[in-house]
């Protein structure tokens, strides 16, 4: 099949959603499909730009390319699913959350003035139409599917994405807790830094880049964590696999996360995951006492969870191994069968 995977790209930003789209293309090609990643830059501010930028996708003609028909489009995150195609499948990474659950929070975007409210409703309207016309609608997690049901009354099938291919292995339950992911406020890396401040024996490695990095580095300085926290930035796949292989545990506690590939990557490295009760989709993978520790979103609680794992390394290993069984079930074969199914 000739398949276009549609993905909205925020230039110079890379996170789990980008990894998912690229992996999908690679896995489709591995199965002899002609797959292509189609991206359009996305900027969602100021004012109504979120709508005009979304509209760009509607103008894209993907029915054919160079005279050859495109059999299927798989759209991922907002607003790529506004694309028009007679055989459109949506594998929803997330909606434009500023219009939904993040509205009227510090992460929201729209003000109380009538134009702000109406722009937000414009996103709902577009979503309802664009998602409603998909031949099949999948969501990457139960959390994303539930949000969709609550906000737009649309039912999506849950289809978690398999983690990226890395040289996963476990070499040690070392002396540091690993955080992997894009550095923005919603990922809540500051909670881990504050936990490190509360527990002097805790060492932290932060992998990833993002707009929150400078603030986090400043916070680490203010908390006098010098020497106990390493900001590794964006690292190569080999280094990432090394970090996973050597860490004690992986910390992953974004606010109401859509899904989160990181817990599955941790599990494939046989590492337990420390998360919080309000982490959303991460809780579909991390079960307290089975595959990790689920604690309150407070520095002391996170510190205590990490400390407990450091003092119970056999238990940390057991939880990591339980997670590995869970992660092994997510395969690209079954994922692609469902995406391409009737």
């Amino acid at each position: 099949m000739r398949i276009a995977v549609c993905h909205a790209q925020v230039p110079f930003n890379r996170g789990g959603a980008e990894v998912l789209a690229e992996n999908l293309v690679a896995e489709l090609r591995r199965r002899d499909h002609a797959a292509e990643l189609v991206t359009i830059p996305f900027k969602w501010y100021p004012g109504t730009r979120v709508l005009t930028q979304a509209f760009l996708w509607r103008l894209v003609d993907l029915e054919e390319a160079n005279g050859e028909p495109i059999d299927l489009v798989v759209a991922t995150k907002f607003p790529s699913y506004a694309v028009r195609h007679s055989n459109k499948v949506v594998w929803l990474v997330h909606q434009f959350r500023q219009s939904y659950d993040l509205d009227r929070t510090e992460l929201g975007q729209f003000g109380e003035e009538p134009a702000g409210r109406a722009t937000r409703r414009g996103v709902h309207r577009l979503d309802r139409i664009a998602l409603g016309e998909a031949r099949r609608l999948f969501a990457i997690s139960g959390n994303v599917a539930e949000r969709l049901r609550l906000t737009l009354d649309l039912e999506a099938e849950v289809l978690p994405p398999p983690p990226q291919q890395l040289d996963y292995r476990c070499e040690d339950y070392g002396d540091f807790v690993l955080s992997v992911g894009r550095l923005d406020r919603a990922k809540r890396v500051d909670l881990l830094l504050e936990a490190a401040a509360a527990e002097p024996s805790l060492r932290v490695v932060v992998v990833g880049e993002g707009p929150d990095r400078r603030r986090l580095e400043r916070l680490a300085g203010e908390l006098r964590l010098d020497g106990r926290v390493t900001f590794a930035g964006r690292v190569e796949e080999k280094s990432l696999a090394d970090y996973y292989a050597r860490c004690l545990a992986v910390y992953y506690a974004p606010v109401d996360e859509d899904f989160g590939l990181v817990p599955y990557e941790a599990f494939l490295s046989e590492k337990p995951v420390v998360t919080t009760r309000d982490a959303g989709g991460a809780l579909e993978a991390v079960t307290d006492g089975e595959t990790g520790v689920v604690c309150e979103p407070a520095p002391a609680a996170v510190a205590q969870a990490c400390l407990w794992l450091a003092g119970h390394r056999e238990e940390a290993r057991a939880r990591g191994l339980s997670g590995k069984e869970l992660a092994a079930r997510l395969t690209w074969d079954t994922t692609i069968d469902r995406l391409l199914g009737p």
């Binding site: 709508l51 509209f55 509607r58 009538p114 409210r117 109406a118 722009t119 409703r121 309207r125």
Partner: protein
């Protein structure tokens, strides 16, 4: 956001006043709502959007349309047929030309001729004799920035008029979970109830005829008719024609009953019947109450009633077989306890899903937010797209521009 709210309100006695009494508290939890005093000429200052509830009664809604003329806003179209309202706003105020124009617009020269016939006293008033043939809804919709309707049926009729502004379908809300003490007049079974204002469009003659057939197989069956009787309906004559007597022969006739007793009687019925034809595009509050009480419901297969899911209500076609089909359905419901139980459960479920007050209030909030800020958003979005088109040399004659407009329409980019 501040909303100017125009509607009849209690103690005024009308279905729309009751509707607003139910809706307003839920709306106030979400919005700053200013209810406008009856007779006020315009919306209060400082309000972002005005909401006008419009029904067919000129006494109740004339002042609301007057205010709508001064400041456009969102119209809640409680009925599609507004002939009586328009006649009241024109002929009722001595504006003969206004009525003639409205009829001409609705039905061309023929409409104008008919209007002349009415004005000159040669024809009976069309708002009484044939209102559904000349709804005159365009007269009101012309003034509206958007319309809220309760059914897909009315939404379609509004679009068929060529109305291009936003239309929101917001279901009619049901009240709080009802638990009245059931009242069963007489001791017959099954008790088949038809409650509310009784007139010919409620198909009372057809119901009486069908009930007479049911009585042959179910001699203990009782028909309850509760409500004020319209002057177009001679109930005694209908009962006599069907060989059924008032308060005998299994028919219990009650006049107007207050709301509390209405609920109790509804709760006591084994089957409720809410037929309608012709429909004025209305939604039946009493049918929704019957469903909320889990009563098996029989309706006509028209308008909003036809949109009820099959398992929730039995639908009777309005044709020459109407009486026969109705009698058959009533007999089946009388004899099949499990069918009644299934319909009862589905009815309650349907009301929870479709007519939940909180959901309705959320949908009002969405519609009002879209309406209040819609124009600046539309201008900004289309302005940006138009600028981009202009910058690359597209002009109005280019087919690409039509395609861009078509795509924008598909995703309702501008509302």
């Amino acid at each position: 956001m501040r909303v100017a709210y125009f509607s009849p309100l209690p103690p005024e006695r009308s279905g729309i006043a009751d509707y607003s009494a139910l809706l307003l508290p839920a709306l106030r939890e979400r919005l700053d709502v200013v209810t406008v005093q009856r007779g006020a000429k315009r919306a209060p200052r400082g309000t972002d959007v005005a909401l006008y509830h419009v029904g067919n009664n000129p006494d109740a809604h004339g002042w609301i349309v007057d205010a709508l003329r001064r400041r456009p806003g969102i119209v809640v179209l409680h009925e599609f047929v507004l002939h009586h309202l328009v006649a009241g706003l024109t002929l009722g105020r001595g504006d003969r030309e206004g009525y003639l124009d409205a009829m001409q617009r609705e039905a061309g020269v023929e409409g104008r001729l008919l209007a002349h016939g009415v004005v000159d006293g040669l024809l009976p008033p069309l708002w009484e004799a044939r209102p559904h043939e000349f709804p005159l809804a365009a007269e009101i919709l012309d003034l509206a920035d958007g319309a809220i309707v309760h059914s897909r049926y009315v939404a379609r009729l509004v679009r068929e008029l060529g109305y291009r502004k936003p239309v929101w379908r917001i279901p009619f809300p049901a009240g709080a979970d009802p638990s009245p003490t059931p009242e069963r007049p007489g001791d017959g079974r099954p008790l088949i109830g038809c409650l509310g204002y009784l007139n010919r469009s409620k198909r009372v003659p057809q119901l009486v005829a069908a009930f007479a057939r049911v009585r042959r197989r179910f001699p203990d069956a009782t028909l309850l008719l509760a409500g004020a009787v319209a002057c177009d309906l001679d109930l005694d004559e209908e009962l006599e024609r069907a060989a059924l007597g008032r308060d005998e022969g299994g028919v219990v006739v009650l006049g107007y009953v207050d709301e509390r007793r209405f609920e109790s009687l509804l709760a006591g019925c084994d089957v409720c019947v809410s037929l309608r034809s012709p429909t004025m595009g209305e939604t039946s509050a009493s049918a929704i109450r019957a469903l909320a009480l889990g009563r098996p419901l029989v309706v006509s297969d028209v308008g909003w009633f036809a949109e009820l899911p099959d398992g929730v209500a039995a639908k009777i076609p309005v044709d020459e077989r109407e009486v026969e089909v109705l009698a058959g359905i009533l007999e089946r419901l009388a004899s099949d306890d499990s069918l009644r139980e299934r319909m009862s459960a589905r009815a309650r479920e349907h009301v929870r899903d479709e007519h939940d007050l909180e959901r309705v209030a959320d949908e009002y909030l969405a519609a009002l937010e879209e309406a209040a800020g819609g124009e600046p958003v539309r201008d900004a979005v289309y302005g940006e797209v138009a600028r981009a088109a202009y910058e690359v040399g597209l002009d109005a004659a280019d087919p690409e521009l039509s395609e861009i407009a078509e795509r924008a329409g598909e995703v309702r980019l501008g509302g």
